[in-house]
């Protein structure tokens, strides 16, 4: 059954002490350590003892017997600790058993944290993020503490919910005041020292932003090949806000990196894009920017729709689309009133446009197929021009 007791490892008779115990050292510094044995029978000797560091035996030339019961070790130009729990320096008896150990913490003091940025999703909380200042690692565990206080009311507070959006972030969930600026800073501390970031001063209202509008959907508009309809839902948090939302849309074709931006979608939750390239995949993003008397200067967060998305009709885009449609709308309205064409509508117009596009394509295909002989007599297929 294999449940017999294992008696092999207890050695109450051999004890030793390493000095220094758990020292903290700067990278590049030196260390002189000793292992002193108190044995039973008395007079246990330092003969045969040896050192390991992180499980690897150290060269004997680094050790020296100081006296009958003490073995010394000299380490120079120490590297940063292999693990943040400390390097394991161990003194072993001749038979390999562990007599004593000491953790070495070798590293650098922290540099001051930088790039603090904060935002609020609902005017009641605040999330902040920062970057540690070290160009390289400190090799020691470094504790970060986000502090904040109201500018003219002196009490310091400490943020308590860390790592909410990444390793260097903190979330303050409640009890935040409006209309008075906060001073925010980050303190970094480790065994070798501490550092404090510059103070960031902000008003919560200036950094309010919304989550992206949910449920962004993009769909074709009937049979039209150059238009897409974008719909979304207003972010639920908006109803608590002291400001209004102004949506903004950006779009690009699949293989481009240039976004076209539509700035003024006002507070509608739908939009139609026109003047797009047929047969092309578009990527679309929608975001909600706060504005108004208490509006924040912070932009909203973009929300993506799937590929094949669309974007709102761009301002100053296709010159014929905006004014033409407006005038057409007015004309249709007049017609319905005065010309007994009750079944006239924009929908009918769009259907007509779709039919026109299809027949135009067909005409082009007929025209170009077999009609471009090359100099050598071979025929060449020409794709129809884009509308």
């Amino acid at each position: 059954m294999g449940l017999e007791s294992n008696q092999g490892t207890e050695r109450e008779e051999d004890t030793a002490v390493i000095s220094p115990q758990d020292p903290t050292l700067l990278i590049g510094s030196s260390l002189l350590a000793t292992c002193s044995v108190h044995g039973d029978p008395p007079g246990a000797t330092a003969e045969g003892l040896y050192w390991t560091l992180n499980g690897r035996r150290l060269p004997p030339e680094l050790s020296r017997v100081l006296n009958a019961s003490t073995l010394a070790l000299a380490l120079a130009n120490l590297n940063g600790s292999r693990q943040q729990s400390g390097d394991n320096l161990v003194c072993h008896a001749r038979d390999g058993s562990i007599l004593a150990g000491s953790c070495l913490y070798v590293g650098l003091p922290p540099e001051k944290p930088v790039n603090i940025s904060c935002w609020s999703k609902n005017m009641k909380d605040l999330t902040c993020r920062w970057t540690p200042g070290a160009h390289g690692e400190t090799f020691l565990h470094t504790n970060y503490s986000l502090k904040y206080k109201l500018r003219w009311y002196g009490q310091d507070n400490t943020c308590e919910e860390y790592h909410t959006v990444g390793p260097h972030s903190c979330h303050i969930p409640k009890d935040l005041a409006l209309f008075t600026p906060y001073e925010i800073w980050v303190e970094a501390t480790n065994r070798l020292g501490s550092a404090r970031s510059d103070v960031l001063t902000l008003d919560i209202l200036d950094v309010v932003t919304t989550d992206p509008p949910p449920d962004v959907h993009v769909s074709r508009v009937g049979g039209l090949e150059d238009q897409l309809s974008v719909r979304w839902v207003s972010p639920p948090a908006l109803k608590d806000f002291l400001f209004q939302a102004k949506y903004q849309i950006r779009y690009r074709v699949e293989d481009s990196v240039d976004w076209k931006v539509v700035d003024d979608v006002s507070n509608q939750t739908s939009c139609r894009l026109a003047g797009l390239k047929p047969g092309t995949v578009y990527f679309v993003q929608v975001r909600c920017n706060p504005f108004g008397i208490y509006g924040s200067k912070k932009a909203g967060i973009w929300k993506r729709s799937g590929p094949g998305g669309g974007a709102c009709e761009p301002r100053g885009g296709e010159p014929s689309s905006g004014p033409v449609r407006r005038e057409l709308k007015q004309f249709l309205g007049w017609l319905k009133k005065h010309a007994y064409c009750s079944n006239l509508s924009f929908r009918l117009y769009d259907q007509w446009r779709a039919w026109m596009q299809k027949s135009h394509k067909t005409r082009n295909q007929h025209r170009t197929r077999g009609s471009c002989p090359r100099a050598d007599g071979a025929r060449r297929e020409v794709l129809p021009d884009k509308l």
Binding site: G8, T15, N54, A100, G101
Partner: protein, 223 residues
Amino acid sequence: MPTGDSWGMLACLCTVLWHLPAVPALNRTGDPGPGPSIQKTYDLTRYLEHQLRSLAGTYLNYLGPPFNEPDFNPPRLGAETLPRATVNLEVWQSLNDKLRLTQNYEAYSHLLCYLRGLNRQAATAELRRSLAHFCTSLQGLLGSIAGVMAALGYPLPQPLPGTEPTWTPGPAHSDFLQKMDDFWLLKELQTWLWRSAKDFNRLKKKMQPPAAAVTLHLGARGF
């Protein structure tokens, strides 16, 4: 090496666990008996064993070599108050059900307490989360064992006055000694989970209805 008092210092937290509310006995009329709870407890020990393998691997890497080396076997000095799973085979076989369950319950109560006190300030946030998750699972195992004990009509063990672990200030425990204590805590947890699987498997077999009774039942139904 001097023995530290870290277990004693942390054990003050154990007093909370001793006062877990007693689980009410199951309604026995027509119920399937303790069999399903025993099976569940067995399954939990296997699940925890699996979880511990991953947690221990990460934690020992954090402690650094030689702690994460496969044949590492340091002196077991400060960890004398840890409940020991290893036991003589004959003694283990001769345990009655009540004692078997009580030993399991007491062991995990202690181990959970020490695990919660594993206050590694320098550990990564991810490691702290894994530890917390494991503690929750271990708490679930304790509850499951308590359920089995209640189903069998055994009282939950209560600490005798004077034997309750108490907090006493002691000499500062060196970081290296603390690492060794952590190592043994994980080792002991592992051994206990191996043993508990055998304990509950044994209990499960004892609780199974005898084969003859099943045959008679089928005969009566005309099969």
